[in-house]
């Protein structure tokens, strides 16, 4: 029997859990834990420069690896700084365990120094949370936290730990539980066979089918099965922003992303479909446009591990609750059974007509390439993403921040593999990109990791350039600089007659090249299209350097297509500044 203090138990439990990195920041309430980590813990700790970055880095790590990200912060401001990152992970269903220090038990409720009700503040943005009351409960609580965070629909779990429970002189028996059973937590293990049979039948009877796959396919490691299903039936596939990479982006059957800034052919196909199979997607308002007008002729099969996602926004004709892997496996088997009976399924001539229609849409208003607004030396943002794609051979991990650059990256970098596209989709958190890229690079040091960002977003967590220096995380930052908050400006152009309320910086931006250099990195400024490709190649040639590529782009460009809202349907889009469906 081994006796450990609370702090030592935490260090040991993280080892026993197989944690690869702890992202955190020390402070008063967690000093016992840090001392235990310092003395004896095999798990390396990454010291960020702001707790928000710790959560985003853990989040990036989790998205890229599929394993829970781990965060350690102190009480009060340490905990509240972590909130934005926890909310980001919650909205995108990312597994994460956040250990937060708390003031000593006897001080709780007394407005003690650096006290905040972390359980209360984080309640609406966690999958679950634990307030530790007894040191001896720590191993079981930590095991439960990892179990809850990583099973079912994943999400962040907070463990709030009062300082006195981690003190070095109070030792208790340590035994780490291998398994955990909770009477009130049992995520679905498989889908309902009857429902899956019905789905197979409906799917094979479809004349204008669309496979609509979201982040759940990536989180549930269902990409291979989804691809198998699509290839077997030759059905078109669209991915949500969160689902990019779930189906190979360069495949002919891929219609591109759907939704507000989705591809024309993807939105048109959805609107005209007679059968939509939604897999691990949640009919987000950035997908559906006006819900009452959503895909009027379509029967909907909805597969999701979270029953609350089904029929929340759009009623499902065939709801299936279960993990994407087991449901798709069973669905494929049922399809085989039906096709053995009737090899004519699905109707090939109907499918051929459907593909012909889709190809016509694709040819008429497919993704824009080239210059939109007259001749100029200025670089178009899309060209930067295309260059990034060429130089990285389409095989990089790409993180992004939030705004126009995020949409350009989503549109112009076709991801062929899951977990390569790392962005804050649900919460839309500016400042996510750089810390997330750190997390990815630490997980995969030999892979190329690019952070596509803008001058607005990058400044929200720019301090992490220092962390990158300390841990030598050689990510490449691609800063699409148009000197505006681009997406805000786009909306102001479209809806506020070009009144740029607080969306410009009035020549106050830093010299990003010098800034990168000040942090010990390399900065490259690119102003002309002719220099772009060479600079991109040079940046990626510096394998062990963080390179900040500051690219001046055309500030007038908007992201298109763009759903016409309010009152529009999936098929109602702006295709350019003066062209609409």
């Amino acid at each position: 029997m081994e006796l450990l203090s609370g702090g030592e138990m935490i260090a040991r439990a993280l080892e026993d859990e197989g944690v690869e990195y702890i992202f955190g920041y020390p402070g008063g309430a967690v000093l016992h834990i840090y001392d235990a980590l310092f003395k004896d813990c095999k798990v390396p700790h990454v010291l960020v420069r702001h707790e928000q970055a710790a959560t985003h880095a853990a989040d990036g790590y989790a998205r890229a690896t599929g394993k829970p990200g781990v965060v350690l912060v102190t009480s009060g401001p340490g905990a509240t700084n972590a909130i934005t990152g926890i909310a980001t992970a919650y909205m995108d269903s990312i597994p994460m365990v956040v250990l937060s220090g708390q003031v000593q038990s006897h001080l709780i409720g007394e407005d003690a120094f650096q006290e905040t009700d972390m359980i209360g503040i984080s309640r609406p943005i966690v999958k679950h949370s634990f307030m530790v009351k007894r040191t001896e409960d720590l191993p079981l609580i930590i095991r439960k936290a990892f179990h809850i965070a990583s099973t079912g629909r994943p999400g962040p779990v907070v463990i709030d730990i009062p300082k006195d429970l981690t003190r070095p002189d109070a030792k208790y028996e340590y035994r780490y539980p291998k398994t955990v059973k909770m009477r009130s937590y049992a995520p679905a293990q498989r889908g309902h066979t009857g429902q899956i049979k019905k789905a197979a039948k409906l799917l094979l009877a479809a004349k204008r089918p669309v496979i609509y796959a979201g982040g759940g396919v990536i989180q549930g490691d269902g990409s291979e099965l989804l691809t198998q299903l699509a290839r077997l039936l030759n059905y078109p596939v669209t991915n949500t922003l969160m689902g990019l990479g779930a189906f190979p982006g360069s495949d002919r059957q891929f219609l591109g992303m759907l939704g507000m800034h989705g591809f024309y052919e993807a939105n048109m196909a959805m609107h005209h479909s007679d059968c939509i199979i939604a897999v691990g997607a949640r009919f987000d308002d950035r997908v559906t446009n006006t819900v009452d007008k959503f895909c009027p002729g379509a029967k909907i099969i909805h597969i999701d591990v979270d029953p609350a996602s089904i029929s929340k926004i759009v009623m499902a004709d065939i709801p299936i609750v279960g993990p994407v892997q087991s449901v798709l496996t069973e669905l494929l088997a049922q399809i085989d059974v039906l096709r053995e009976k009737d090899s004519g399924l699905p109707d090939q001539s109907a499918l051929a007509r459907w593909w012909q229609q889709i190809e016509e849409w694709r040819a008429s208003h497919g993704l824009f390439t080239g210059r939109r607004y007259g001749e100029s030396d200025m670089i178009m943002p899309q060209q930067v993403i295309e260059s990034l794609y060429r130089v990285t051979k389409g095989d990089a991990y790409v993180t992004s921040d939030v705004g126009q650059h995020q949409m350009f990256a989503a549109q112009y970098y076709p991801f062929d593999k899951p977990r390569r596209w790392i962005n804050s989709g649900g919460l839309g958190t500016m400042g996510f990109g750089l810390p997330a890229a750190m997390g990815v690079k630490l997980a995969f040091p030999d892979m190329e990791v690019a952070c596509v960002t803008g001058e607005g977003s990058i400044q929200m967590n720019i301090q992490e350039l220092s962390t990158c220096n300390q841990y030598n995380t050689a990510v490449k930052i691609i800063n699409l600089r148009n000197n505006y908050l681009g997406m805000v400006k786009q909306w102001q152009d479209m809806q506020y007659e070009g009144r740029y309320a607080m969306s410009t910086y009035e020549d106050s931006l830093p010299d990003f090249v010098k800034l990168a250099e000040a942090y010990g990195h390399v900065g490259i400024l690119v102003k002309k299209l002719a220099d772009l490709e060479g600079a991109m190649e040079a940046a990626f040639a510096m394998k062990d350097k963080l390179v900040f590529l500051d690219v001046i782009i055309d500030p007038m460009e908007h992201v298109y297509p763009m759903h016409i809202a309010p009152h529009g349907s999936m098929k109602d889009m702006w295709l350019s500044k003066n062209e609409r469906t």
Partner: protein, 163 residues
């Protein structure tokens, strides 16, 4: 439609705030709320009433079920059930009204549980409608204070909400 949703939840600190928080977080209303320990000390039983369309109630029950502290949940209004709300009401009881209050209390099968020179405290148990009707019937008396327990409910027959 009015619904009575009853659940067993872990008798843990914070469990109640998760349930209540869910309502404000997702824009639902709680009309009544009643929570107390059960015969199993590890479980609390929480019963609440709310109003919403079928779709909204379905979404609400799914969200409640997702809470890790909620062990089991039932919508009692799905089937036959018994529901009770308990009210303590303090009224001014002087002059002619004093006798009238007593008579009305008897008609409603309530009990006067405290008698003062100028006030009565009346205890009344029944459905929420019955309690509302009693309050309406007291219109001529001066109502000083009303306290209600919120609805508690249980399904009829063999149907049981237990582990």
């Amino acid at each position: 439609m009015r619904r009575i949703i009853s659940m067993l939840m872990e008798n843990e600190p914070g469990a109640l705030s998760r349930v209540v928080g869910l309502f404000s977080q997702r824009g639902y209303n709680i009309e009544t709320l009643n929570v107390a320990p059960t015969d199993d000390p590890t479980l609390s039983r929480l019963t609440l009433t709310t109003v919403g369309s079928d779709l909204r109630i379905e979404q609400l029950t799914k969200q409640l079920n997702k809470l890790v502290d909620v062990v089991k949940l039932a919508d009692l209004t799905d089937g036959a059930h018994v529901e009770r709300d308990m009210m303590l009401i303090k009224v001014r009881a002087t002059g002619a009204v004093r006798a009238e209050v007593k008579r009305t209390t008897d008609i409603f099968r309530g009990q006067i549980v405290d008698v003062g020179p100028t006030v009565y405290i009346i205890q009344l148990t029944g459905t929420s409608d019955k309690l509302d009707a009693f309050v309406a019937a007291m219109a001529d008396a001066e109502i000083l204070e009303v306290v209600r327990s919120g609805v508690a409910g249980i399904s009829r027959g063999e149907k049981v909400l237990s582990l």
